[in-house]
């Protein structure tokens, strides 16, 4: 079966001033694929993810969504991304952050409803019903009227996932969704993410939980110095790494058993 990739990245570069963080990333993600991105601290994992929903604008390269290249050619030969197009892309590519980034002045259900109403223009009653359904899916129905400050980190992250899901994204990006959680709260969030995998959703996940990545991903990429140092199946990259740097990275994370 040949289909167009849902997400296609070609020669992606990102520099902050003189500091080149991404130096040519190529990636194709088919519908239903789950990509785990691993790599050392500062290797550019977050930056890569943030380029994919344009929280950061790439310095160079091409990003295509469902076969359509984003942005248009500017006068100086670079690519310009009109603001309206980026807002459209962000509706289709959801993101879950390490720090949850819930709106503290809104209850759990209002957090989930907010963008449905303001961005999608869904009528409030309908948005509320949808939000309740999403909160139910992450197991937080009874917390719907709680403010984020009254929720545990794990609960906050689940609300954040429900909030992203409510927008019906075609792709979900997770940036270390469990890194700021107490160890005993990690499991509940990973369970939710595993459930999404079961639904066949297309997802990209940056994580240090290598054990989870092994079971979750259909493809694992090891990022080093702003390039894909090694790409393959979880077995290939995590169990039988070929590259020297992949091996030493994994050795440093040897506490994870697959």
């Amino acid at each position: 079966m040949t289909t167009t990739p849902l997400l296609e990245v070609e020669g992606l570069h990102k520099a902050f001033g003189p500091h080149e963080v991404l130096r040519g990333i190529d990636l194709a993600v088919m519908p239903g694929e789950r990509v785990a991105i691993i790599g050392g601290s500062g290797s550019g994992k977050s930056t890569l993810l943030r380029c994919l929903n344009f929280m950061e604008v790439p310095t160079a390269g091409r990003i295509a969504l469902d076969g359509r290249t984003l942005g248009r050619r500017g006068r100086d030969g670079g690519t310009v991304y009109p603001e309206s197009e980026l807002c459209g892309v962000r509706r289709r590519v959801g993101m879950v952050f390490q720090q949850f980034n819930l709106f503290p002045h809104r209850t759990a259900i209002e957090n989930v409803m907010e963008a449905l109403v303001t961005v999608k223009g869904t009528p409030r009653a309908e948005a509320r019903a949808r939000a309740e359904a999403e909160l139910g899916k992450v197991g937080l129905s009874e917390k719907r009227d709680a403010y984020p400050s009254r929720l545990s980190g794990g609960q906050q992250q689940r609300v954040a996932i429900a909030r992203a899901l409510a927008m019906d994204p075609e792709i979900l990006l997770f940036d270390e969704p469990t890194s700021s959680l107490d160890p005993e709260l990690v499991g509940e969030v990973l369970r939710v993410i595993r459930g999404l995998a079961g639904e066949g959703r297309t997802m990209l996940l940056v994580t240090h939980e290598l054990g989870f990545a092994y079971h979750f991903a259909t493809k694992v990429v090891f990022l080093a110095d702003g390039r894909f140092y090694e790409v393959g199946t979880p077995d290939e990259v995590l169990k039988h790494p070929r590259g020297e740097r992949t091996r030493s990275f994994l050795a440093r994370h040897s506490e994870f058993a697959f």
Binding site: M55, R90, R91, Q99, F103, E114, V119, R163, A164
Partner: protein
């Protein structure tokens, strides 16, 4: 030392003060309202990522905050007309100066408030597809307006008193009328005391209401 306090002249002259009070309010409320609106725009400009927008905004804010209001008012009445070639009435010159001065202070309040919201809030909103304006309106401002309220109240109180400087341009506001009466009756102590009381009566209800509103908002969160 004894002094014969005599407030009787105020019994006949209170309409003069009342007319002055009216002009004071006509300076105060519009300057505050326009200052808030303009201050918001200026505060956003100050936060712009483009230096071409942010630097002029910063310059304007610093000029208005760093120079005496009295000189600003005089400048708008005497110098500004030379620059633009249109003579302004004393009232309009005073209103313009007070508005811009208030805008400069409000811009800094808005900027500080907006910057106090963690960047992640803005990103959370943007990642859901909100435009900058939507993120500002639905996520950032609701969180900070409450925190800014005391600062805006201070500004409004300050401005109510600063309107008295318009008297140097012969705007017939409260202070001007008070000085006029003083000069006529040689009773500055009684008259200025009365004028001070009128300012207080003007300002206090607003400051009282704002404190109550603040408590109500604090209780709600």
């Amino acid at each position: 030392m004894t002094y014969d306090w005599d407030f009787s002249l105020l019994a006949q002259n209170w309409p003069v003060l009342l007319r002055g009070l009216l002009v004071t309010v006509e300076l105060w409320i519009p300057a505050m309202a326009a200052g808030l609106a303009l201050g918001f725009a200026l505060g956003l400009a100050r936060l712009s990522r483009s230096g071409w927008v942010a630097k002029p905004a910063l310059g304007a804010i610093e000029v208005f905050r760093g120079t005496p209001v009295l000189i600003q008012l005089i400048w708008f009445f005497y110098a500004f007309p030379i620059v633009i070639g249109v003579q302004l009435s004393p009232f309009v010159a005073a209103l313009l100066g007070l508005t811009l001065n208030t805008a400069a202070y409000c811009a800094e309040i808005f900027r500080g408030g907006i910057q106090s919201v963690p960047k992640g809030q803005f990103e959370g909103a943007r990642a859901l597809g909100m435009t900058r304006a939507q993120a500002m309106r639905r996520v950032i401002l609701p969180q900070v307006l409450r925190r800014m309220l005391p600062a805006f109240t201070n500004r409004a109180i300050e401005l109510a008193k600063v309107t008295s400087l318009a008297s140097v341009l012969s705007v017939h506001e409260l202070m001007y009328q008070g000085r006029l009466l003083s000069a006529t009756y040689y009773r500055p102590l009684e008259i200025l005391t009365t004028v001070a009381i009128v300012y207080f009566v003007l300002i206090y209800p607003g400051s009282f209401l704002s404190a109550r509103l603040e408590r109500r908002l604090a209780a709600r969160s």
